[in-house]
Amino acid sequence: MKAQQSGRYRLDLILWLAATASVALALYFALLFAPTERTMGHVQRIFYFHVASAWVAFLAFFVVFVASVLYLATRDLRHDVLAASSAEIGVLFTTLVLTTGPLWAKPVWNTYWTWDPRLTTTLILWLIYIAYLMLRSFVGEDEKAARFAAVFGIVGFADVPIVYLSIRLWRTLHPKPVIGGAEGSGLHPTMLIALLVCLTAFALLYLCLLRLRIRLERVQRQLRRAQLERG
């Protein structure tokens, strides 16, 4: 038990060191190493954090979906703890996307917000997972909250492709995906390197936050159970 715990702390230490170092590196790559974009200028450098946040947010919600399915299949509350923690961090990163996006859009599109499908989709995604967190908080009992949240985690994630489909049916102001997009699109190689560094940094940050949040969730549940037992 003790050895297992110290092993866990060592892994935490390594993860946090790696995350700190890679975030510092990401700042260097995004702000200094990457070339200045021709038409947009320095403001385009927010792209590296914007896109990295978006990808990590999607990853977080995918983890919610997988953990939800696993919970319903096994009824192991550890999966539920994972789903709850990942959803909260996903909302955090989606909030980052929705903050960096308008900051970038104002000087480039001359507006903070347009009802462009991709922006709208991100906003909807954010609302779905806020609703998910609200659902959890409105159901008192752990086991029932876990069941309901798992079902909603599946329904919410199943909605994403349909929402994405509607993107293609609308005209969009948001640029086409630069990676794996149409011909003629694409990133300058050094820009791609900067993006990958940022992505790695954010993914490591996600892992660190996830482990912290999971531990917090477990302690909170233990505390609630202890309080119930004492009456």
Binding site: F148, S166, L169
Partner: protein
């Protein structure tokens, strides 16, 4: 009991219950028309913008009215212990789910059919409707809304904050459905051929199939206790 006979029996129970009191239907209808009147104050009278936004107003009213009925379809079961009775029926959980979807679908559709002519008059919409296209949009849109709504209603009905929780859960999930219905209702109302809205109809059908499947599979986890 057979699958279909089970669905028919539970559907019949809800139908008889509703036809004796008419509480849900009348509340939905009155609310639907109230929304139509309220939205009217947002526009200048006689401006052509009214006709452009009419499909959006229409579906906002339908969705708001629909959520009233969908919310009630499970909350009254939970209040009087009816859900326990339903769960004791010798049928699969999916039967209860599909019966509730069918009930919500038909009540909502009935309200839409009654309210639509009133809308046409109030918003002075041109009378050149493509009935086939309009029927397809109404049926596909209402079915999807009831499909995901019935699942989430079963969920929110057994929480502490049921009235506030259902709209918060249902509306973001139903956004693609509402976009598609609003986008296709406009052409259907002005008599455009159905081919013009085929893209949106396909999206609606995809939404319906996806959420009928996902909801019927997950429903048993919601009503477990």
């Amino acid at each position: 009991m057979g699958y279909l006979r089970g669905i028919a029996a539970i559907y019949w129970k809800d139908l008889v219950l509703e036809l004796r009191t008419r509480q849900s239907l009348s509340a939905m209808l009155v609310f639907c028309l109230t929304v139509a009147v309220l939205f009217n104050f947002a526009f200048e009278p006689g401006s052509s913008a009214v006709q452009a936004v009419a499909p959006g107003v229409l579906w906002s009213a339908f969705a708001f009215a629909g959520i009233l009925g969908i919310s009630r379809s499970f909350s009254f079961e939970v209040d009087r212990g009816g859900l326990q009775g339903l769960l004791l029926c010798p049928v699969e959980r999916g039967v209860i789910y599909f019966a509730k979807v069918l009930g919500n679908f038909s009540f909502m559709l009935l309200v839409e059919i009654i309210a639509l002519p009133v809308f046409v008059i109030l918003y002075d919409l041109p009378l050149s409707v493509n009935l086939g296209a309009l029927a397809a949009v109404l049926v596909a849109g209402t079915l999807g809304f009831s499909a995901v709504g019935s699942l989430l209603s079963a969920m929110s009905a057994s929480t502490r904050a049921r009235e506030i929780l259902l709209p918060v859960l249902l509306f973001p999930v139903a956004v693609p459905l509402l976009i598609a219905t609003v986008k296709s209702t406009g052409p259907a109302l002005t008599g455009r051929p159905i081919g013009e809205i085929a893209v949106w109809l396909r999206l609606l059908i995809a939404f319906d199939l996806l959420f009928l499947a996902v909801s019927s599979l997950t429903f048993e986890y919601v009503v477990e206790d």
